[in-house]
Symmetry: C2
Subunit: 438 residues, 2 copies
């Protein structure tokens, strides 16, 4: 077998991890030994790196890599939208399959890239874009296709899960943990994409597209991060038997679709109370866990390291091997794409309106400490047909009380109407927090 | 695309589940719609079944199915060693790919079947043989190949996990729960393969072969079931902060191999104490969970329903779709096998001797309730260089005490020598139980 030429775009932590695997094939699947690193695009040739790459294959010109005739698979691990996206498109047009860890590009331009790949007859594989090292993309594409998928959900951002785990364990505030996480390298110096939920929204858009078979308009996903989460809510949640996790959830919307021929999906990202006996409650630190539910499988969970050089490199190499394996099936490489691995859309999907999301809720109110207030709140919820699981009053001062309400499953439209009325009660000072609840 | 002809051998719970998916393709991957049930072999044509299958495709002669030119994929879900094994071989020789849920056949005759499949250029896929609906075989084959795998372990028998979960929760004896489990359909009327650990040994043999790349002599796997487990051990384990799970474990043996050119693996099946904070401790009922550890991925876990008609059918259909997808790549089907999906051995492996297994242990002794006995036991362990984590004495009667010892990690050879000496102590009446401990 002729060696499979690999071109790396980027030699950061993930790129180095990939190079390390390719350069040390011993004790791995023998197909790893058939891979050869032919070219690596870097920003700075002079930079000291703790990995040995021959100077002859380094270049600062990524175009050289995507057009190199000795390269069959392009691995894009540079990150960011541009020039990553353009290079992916150029590689596809040059007839090369692409492996990328770039969730931001795939979540925003996945459909365009997928169409380009189809036209060129090449693969674009993205195992590393979601869940770090956890095999989740390939199982959804290749192992769950017999199911009617109803829901995909989970913890898919390692940085926020690390921060939440520490807030819960140490009872400290978000800002304190964030600073520490940045110093330890678990959070970026600009943490916005992680803590505001945008990274998780990218990933749930990608997972939804694969699980439900239609591309998702990522900008329609209601997204709340953990950056406004207060220690007091972590504390109250724990007292009520819950931990707080940043969950990304995507489920089939059962209400009648207003868009003919398109499957509505309720998709959202939000800090969510998770009961202590739920398997997600035990997922701590930078670990991720993804639940897939469907008929007839029931529920399966995939758990593991959601980030890091090694795990992410493992996922990138998984994709490289899948392509190399298929390419080894024929000398001339002239055949159709495998419909599972290429994962084209097979129907239209759209993100349902936020007010249609149906879920349990956690609401914390600041109110006067007067005997009638719980009754008034209960009356408004009752009028709006919102069934309440519990109302608990935590006294803060002599005059002020904090009231925590946990609802049963209700549509968000109903909840918003009720909260508007509750906000106008003279006894109620403000609605201090709202979150989801499993 | 021409429809892909499917032949079913067996129409029991799994067979019916598969037929249900194929006959109701709506809302599943569109490739399901390309499958067509062409023939079904059953034992009794007259039997009433809660599924509609046209009489014209039913037969009592399975040879008709495996030789039918309109069938491309044979699905063997009849179970048992024969005639299942012979039919699989005949199907392969007739040029058909095979999907089977038959762990007993694969664990015992996997190498022979794999060689036949290679010679015929067809696939034999076995996702349903391990872990019920959990995608574990395909991820190990297709998503983890970049790793140096060091360990595969987990809970891979649903029946025993159901029994253990109930023993733990209700504090009742094995025999009582077994009877109940049989009545509820969670255990077979002849439960031997499950409760004696043989089913788990079949499955860990299969997983080991795939993860470590060499076929495993299944009969060399030391196997202890749960059929001698007493309620008192479940009780003591809980007091010490552990649950008991039937674990199957396979790990690279680090001691020098006596067999040149062959990778030694420590593989065993045994009831094992699992700390309450270990992810496996929360796996209850008929659920399964499989941990895979390697470099650079770290640890990933796959969790879900380990048995049942629907989940197992989901796994069978996953395999069917993988083969159908590959077959759709070319009209004439003339190309090499995908080296990942076909999963050939790439090195020699062998099961290391039992005395080389290195693990923590739980030991319960019945002794006279005299002050010197713990000292004597401790002295013998010390002499054999066995480091002890804890010794706890539970008093049973005035004269008799139960002593529970938990060791640190030691080789089983050392432990056996120590236990021989301890058994001979005049104060010690008997060694009542030994188990593994995580």
């Amino acid at each position: 077998m002729k060696k499979v030429g690999i071109g790396l775009l980027g030699l950061g932590t993930v790129g180095k991890g990939v190079a390390n695997i390719i350069n040390n094939p011993n004790d791995r699947h023998p197909l790893v030994g058939e891979l050869e690193l032919v070219g690596v695009a870097v920003r700075n040739l002079q930079k000291k790196r703790d990995i040995i790459i021959p100077d002859s294959i380094l270049t600062t010109n990524p175009i050289e890599i995507v057009t190199n005739p000795n390269i069959q698979i392009i691995v894009e691990v540079m990150g960011g939208i541009e020039p990553a996206k353009s290079l992916i498109i150029q590689a596809i047009r040059a007839g090369k399959s692409v492996v990328t860890a770039n969730k931001a590009v795939i979540a925003r331009h996945g459909e365009e890239i997928s169409n380009e790949a189809k036209a060129a007859g090449v693969y674009v594989l993205i195992e590393a874009a979601v869940g770090g090292g956890i095999p989740i993309i390939e199982p959804v594409k290749q192992s769950l296709g017999g199911n009617q998928i109803t829901k995909v959900s989970g913890i898919i951002n390692g940085t926020t899960n690390y921060i939440l785990s520490r807030m819960d364990k140490e009872g400290v505030d978000y800002a304190d943990v964030l600073k520490d996480a940045q110093e330890l390298g678990y959070a970026e110096s600009d943490p916005a994409a992680d803590v505001e939920g945008s990274d998780a929204a990218d990933k749930i858009a990608i997972l939804s597209g694969l699980a439900f078979g239609g591309s998702i308009n990522r900008s329609n996903i209601p997204t709340t991060g953990i950056n406004h989460l207060e220690a007091v809510d972590v504390n109250y949640a724990r007292k009520l038997g819950y931990g707080i996790k940043l969950l990304a959830i995507s489920e089939k919307d059962k209400s009648p679709s207003k868009t003919e021929g398109s499957q509505p999906l309720s998709i959202w990202v939000e800090p969510t109370l998770v009961p202590e006996d739920n398997p997600l409650a035990g997922v701590n630190g930078v670990n991720n866990a993804i639940l897939v539910e469907g008929n007839p499988i029931g529920q399966v969970m995939f758990f593991g390291p959601g980030a890091g050089s090694g795990p992410t490199a493992s996922a990138v190499v998984a994709d490289i091997l899948n392509i190399a394996g298929i390419q080894s099936m024929s000398e001339d490489n002239i055949f159709n794409l495998d419909p599972l691995l290429s994962a084209m859309s097979w129907r239209n999907c759209h993100v349902a309106e936020k007010k249609q999301i149906t879920k349990k809720n956690y609401i914390r109110l600041i109110a006067n400490d007067s005997p009638g207030v719980i009754g008034e709140i209960g009356t408004i919820f009752g009028k709006k047909k919102i069934s309440i699981e519990s109302i608990v009053q935590f006294d803060v001062t002599d005059e002020e009380a904090e009231i925590v309400v946990i609802t049963h499953k209700i549509q968000q439209g109903q909840l918003e109407e009720a909260l508007l009325e509750i906000k106008n009660l003279s006894q109620v000072k403000r609605i201090a927090a709202t979150m989801g609840c499993l």
